[in-house]
């Protein structure tokens, strides 16, 4: 109940501040199993892409949250689990565990994922090189559709280090799905995925 209210409140807030406009350019919104991968410039990216998805998809799509940031306070933890139903990943790699394990479990259960393959927030115009997670997941789950997305303007709403967001219109552009070609190299695929995200910027 409280989580429901919180999600309505956040949805209202994001729409008031940013418009939370979704532009489906390359594929329609559909309830198939998908991995959405996008550029990452602000903590608000996660809320933004979540708000841009239609209601029906929001419940089956789980964002990925960095464990070291989103579990430090009880409020952050509650929001990411109860409202966003997020999957936590560790950014610091430990020797004996596979960082992709929680994501693989979520995909095995049939959930869709929202992924930021840069791994960390950038503040340059273009996204940083993608990390290998996207490639590994594409290898292990070939039936999952990979959808690139470009989040525009969100870094102007709340730059790093500021606490009060300002109202500026943002949009999320979803592009045509990508496939891992048979025998495609890891670096080659990741660069192609990054190009696909960047290409949506000027659409």
């Amino acid at each position: 109940m409280l989580a429901k209210l919180m999600s309505l409140f956040l949805l209202g807030l994001v729409r008031l501040l940013t418009g939370a406009q979704a532009r489906w350019q390359g594929c329609p919104p559909m309830a198939e199993q998908r991995i959405y991968f996008a550029n990452h410039q602000s903590h608000a990216d996660l809320i933004m892409i979540w708000a841009a998805l239609p209601q029906e998809l929001r419940s089956i799509t789980r964002p990925i949250a960095a464990r070291d940031y989103w579990t430090t306070t009880p409020l952050r933890q509650w929001i990411t689990t109860a409202v966003f139903n997020a999957v936590y990943v560790a950014r610091e790699r430990k020797a004996d565990e596979d960082p992709l394990q929680p994501l693989a479990e979520a995909l095995e259960r049939g959930d869709s994922l929202i992924l930021f393959p840069e791994g960390t927030r950038g503040n340059a115009d273009l996204p940083q090189p993608f990390k290998a997670g996207l490639y590994n997941l594409a290898m292990r789950f070939p039936h999952v559709v990979l959808v690139p997305a470009w989040i525009a303007n969100i870094q102007r709403v709340m730059p790093k280090g500021e606490v009060v967001p300002v109202p500026i219109l943002c949009s999320v552009t979803f592009g045509a799905p990508l496939r891992l070609e048979p025998g495609e190299e890891r670096r080659q695929f990741l660069d192609r995925a990054r190009e696909a995200v960047i290409a949506l910027r000027d659409l």
Binding site: N153, V164, V166, L169, L203
Partner: protein
């Protein structure tokens, strides 16, 4: 008829006005609906022509705007002021989105949206008209560059400040004069502020609408192709004449005599249409066709500013002319 209307209380008179306007909308919408049948039977299922589509969109906007005005009036002055504050907020959001800002502008933007805008509308709502007219041109004008300077980024300093101040002046200061008109009490005209707002909106909109229609019909070459692909001095003059005539015809709902109403309408139309042209120049500078930006990348906005910019320019001039005329 006239006598009967005059004997009503101000509230009843305004209510009668709304019934009249809604009546016109119902008639026009019914006619447009019936027209679709006729077109279908003659053109064998062809898509409706562009003109009819345009007209329907315009009709939809009119319904929406009249409904908002009615709600605002029926719910009382506080709600009316709040609704216009919301319009200001969305218009400024569109304006800022398409004016590039830097990281150091963040505090200034927070000030504009969450301090200046609420205070300005609070001043309107509580009837502090003397402070309301100088708050943004004097106090905010000086506060914004101070906040900016404290941000410590000197790159394009003047340009960035000018953009923010300009956005605030048009979207907040200009728009806030519409509810101010609603609340300002003229001598012997208490409770009829809604008529003044109605007068202003109808006069400016009919001027803009006629210009739009004539541009399509007459297909004259644009007078200033570098600014607008449609603006032409002849159609502009015709729009001004129509706006003024409409103003003269509506003089019975205003405190003005007929010639005064014509003059006031002329002033409002001139400010509105020229303001619209100025906004077009701004849009050209940003390389976009509309603030709503249909189909292009930057935003998914709905182009609110395209619809209200004429009003934002006309309202302050109309308001201050009326104040000056009544010496209040």
């Amino acid at each position: 008829m006239n006598q009967a209307l005059r004997s009503l209380s101000p509230t009843q008179q305004v209510a009668a006005l709304f019934i009249f306007v809604f009546g016109i909308l119902v008639v026009v919408s019914t006619a447009a609906f019936l027209l679709t049948f006729r077109q279908r039977s003659t053109a064998h299922g062809d898509l409706p022509s562009d003109e009819l589509k345009d007209f329907r969109a315009l009709l939809g906007t009119s319904w929406f705007m009249v409904a908002v005005f009615w709600l605002a009036w029926a719910a009382g002055n506080a709600v009316a002021t709040f609704l216009f504050a919301l319009l200001s907020f969305f218009a400024l959001r569109e304006f800022i989105t398409l004016s590039p800002t830097r990281r150091a502008d963040h505090r200034g933007l927070v000030l504009a949206f969450f301090v200046v805008l609420p205070i300005q509308y609070w001043l309107v709502g509580t009837g502090h008209f003397d402070l309301f007219t100088v708050f943004i041109p004097v106090y905010v004008f000086l506060a914004i560059p101070v906040i900016s300077a404290l941000g410590g980024d000197t790159q394009r300093f003047l340009e960035r400040n000018a953009k923010l101040q300009w956005g605030i002046t048009v979207c907040v200061y200009g728009m806030s004069h519409v509810p101010a008109l609603l609340l300002l009490s003229f001598p012997d005209y208490e409770g009829k502020g809604a008529f003044m707002v109605f007068f202003l909106v109808i006069v400016v909109q009919s001027c803009m609408l006629l210009q739009h229609v004539l541009t399509r019909r007459l297909k004259r070459p644009p007078s200033h192709p570098e600014i607008s692909a449609s603006f032409n001095w002849t159609t502009w003059a015709l729009g001004m004449v129509l706006g003024s005539i409409v103003g003269g015809l509506l003089s019975f709902i205003t405190p003005f005599r007929a010639w005064q109403a014509i003059l006031m309408a002329f002033v409002a139309c001139a400010a509105g249409s020229m303001g619209h042209l100025v906004m077009k120049a701004l849009k050209r500078d940003r390389g976009i066709a509309a603030w709503g930006n249909r189909g292009a990348a930057v935003t998914g906005a709905n182009g609110l500013l395209d619809r209200v910019d004429a009003l934002c320019f006309a309202a302050p001039i109309f308001f201050h002319s009326a104040r000056w005329y009544f010496a209040i």
